[in-house]
């Protein structure tokens, strides 16, 4: 019960102080909206919402979670308020879980806008809603944990932002969102397969239009493995780098 009180209050504080601030809410709305509008204008005659939908959802989650978590944790480390959490009688696992939960929820919320636009305005027919939400949740978790891995490596807020961009932009082009992996040069393809986002995008593609390229069960298993791996990698790094 005591651990739950700590977890819940860390989550509430983060939601209130970081994620539900007006600039972040508006960013969560404007970002997917702007991408959809851009793609719609660019290819109006041949616009296929089912091709665009998974990409916009994945980007909204990836950009929202990685930037928020990397910046908030680095900010708290810099102002030393993160020490309060390290001094509290809670395990590092629970502390990390509490910190990432807010970002995961933020990622899930970010995916709602493109879903609403696609379904309500473009009348997109989602083939499997359960798998869509499974994909969104796993993608939010894995993106958040990527953000955490970046936060653990950065000392300054600007460093975290730079690292985030260094990882995010290549990921967008290598995960099969806009360019199918099969069309990439063969020597780049292995990179695509070590990116967790690749599997998240594949689950979304399956759920929306069954245009996936790998078995969906394999995607889900690999995403879970990435989540567990990144979670413990971050814990290992926190213990190694922050408790010296």
């Amino acid at each position: 019960m005591k651990s739950f009180i700590a977890f819940w209050n860390i989550l509430l504080k983060d939601m209130k102080n970081y994620y539900l601030k007006p600039p972040n809410i508006s960013w969560g709305i404007i970002f997917p909206f702007a991408w959809m509008l851009m793609l719609f204008i660019k290819s109006q005659s041949a616009f296929n919402i089912n091709d665009t939908f998974p990409g916009i959802v994945a980007m909204s989650i990836l950009f929202g979670t990685t930037s928020m978590l990397a910046v908030t944790i680095t900010f708290e480390r810099k102002s030393r308020s993160f020490e309060r959490l390290l001094l509290a009688p809670i395990s590092t696992e629970l502390l990390v879980f509490s910190k990432v939960s807010g970002a995961i929820l933020f990622g899930i919320l970010n995916s709602i806008i493109p879903i609403l636009i696609s379904v309500l305005y473009f009348k997109s027919a989602v083939l499997n809603w359960y798998l869509l939400f499974t994909g969104i949740i796993l993608l939010s978790i894995v993106s958040t944990l990527l953000g955490l891995s970046i936060a653990v490596s950065a000392k300054e807020v600007f460093e975290a932002q730079t690292f985030s961009n260094f990882f995010r932009f290549p990921m967008i082009f290598l995960c099969g969102l806009f360019i199918p992996i099969a069309s990439l040069p063969f020597y780049i393809r292995p990179v695509s397969y070590i990116l967790p986002i690749t599997y998240g995008v594949d689950v979304l593609k399956y759920a929306i239009s069954k245009s996936n390229s790998m078995p969906v069960l394999l995607d889900i298993i690999l995403l879970i493995i990435f989540c567990v791996g990144l979670f413990y990698f971050s814990i290992f790094n926190i213990r190694k780098k922050w408790i010296v």
Partner: protein
């Protein structure tokens, strides 16, 4: 005396740098134990190790006779920490900060809200309770940080330089709060570079320099050790020569006495026996130093500290305040 924390042969190194070098001490239940030393003496590193913020290189730590080396997490519920810089959440109000810190210790909402209000009252921050932490003055921030560290009623409170860089009135208030906390049963581990603070507050003091404890005892013990010494303070107008050169010359010319600068305008001369002041005065005059006053004073804790560590108090204070 029942010891609450016992440290045996604690060493901490960061590669080639030895921050804490084979120190041993115990903190007795109910006392205020002081760590007195200059910058980079190893005070903060010791606190970090004892509170789980740093790993130990070698040695043992016991909490109530139980070996807790590398298991500090287990006792974090019983300890409170006030770091050398206030580290609460800038965007939360004073009240929210206290409630949040209490929640980290699993305290239920009604209890933590009551406790937060009580502490704000005790620390005279009730009027500012709904202001964001970032709007607080340095003294107010310090007080709220102390309040946040005792919101879960710890058995032992670690205070790292609690009065550094804050105004005199706030410092006095904080010292009174420390005394009050201690009289209510909280054991306190205090690091400071202010000798008068250590003398006023601490039951026992450890002098620490370059990661090593030089001596542990009460202020009375330390003064007792040098009570037979004679101390003369020489106040002068200004020094035209380099202070270090002057000290070197003084110590060369008068090897039986120890000369140190107390501050810019005062030299302290400490001797185990009687001091013949006239040759020293002549020497200083011949070095173009215009002497205003020379007086015999009683040895103080400061003299004991200077004698044992060879550190100039004024320089120690300035170094810390510059930080």
């Amino acid at each position: 005396m029942e010891s609450i924390i016992e440290v045996k042969n604690l060493t901490k190194d960061y590669g080639n740098l030895i921050a804490v070098d084979n120190i041993s001490f115990s903190i007795n239940k109910g006392e205020i134990f002081g760590f007195l030393g200059p910058n980079a003496a190893g005070k903060t590193t010791t606190i970090n190790i004892l509170t789980g913020m740093a790993k130990i290189t070698s040695g043992k730590i016991f909490y109530k006779d139980n070996d807790i080396t590398n298991k500090i997490k287990k006792i974090q519920r019983f300890i409170g920490v006030v770091p050398d810089e206030s580290n609460l959440y800038e965007e939360l109000t004073g009240y929210e900060n206290l409630c949040f810190c209490a929640s980290l210790y699993g305290i239920f909402r009604s209890k933590r809200e009551k406790k937060a209000r009580e502490l704000l009252e005790v620390f005279q921050l009730s009027e500012a309770s709904h202001r964001r932490f970032r709007t607080y003055s340095k003294g107010m921030k310090r007080k709220l940080t102390i309040a946040a560290s005792i919101v879960h009623e710890p058995e032992i409170l670690f205070l790292d330089e609690p009065t550094t860089g804050i105004d005199v009135a706030s410092s006095r208030q904080i010292r009174n709060l420390i005394k009050k906390l201690n009289s209510n049963g909280t054991t306190i581990f205090l690091t400071t570079h202010y000798i008068e603070e250590a003398e006023r507050l601490c039951s026992r003091i450890a002098f620490i320099k370059n990661g090593r404890i030089i001596k542990i005892g009460t202020a009375g013990n330390f003064i007792e050790d040098i009570k037979e010494s004679n101390v003369i303070e020489v106040l002068f107008d200004s020094v035209s020569v380099d202070k270090n050169i002057l000290l070197k010359r003084l110590n060369q010319n008068f090897p039986d006495v120890e000369c140190i600068f107390k501050n810019e305008n005062t030299i302290k001369i400490i001797s185990p026996g009687k001091i013949d002041i006239s040759p020293i005065v002549s020497f200083l005059s011949s070095n173009n130093i215009y002497i205003l006053e020379a007086k015999l004073i009683k040895p103080t804790l400061e003299d004991a500290f200077v004698k044992m560590t060879g550190i100039e108090i004024d320089i120690m204070k300035k170094e810390k305040e510059k930080k």
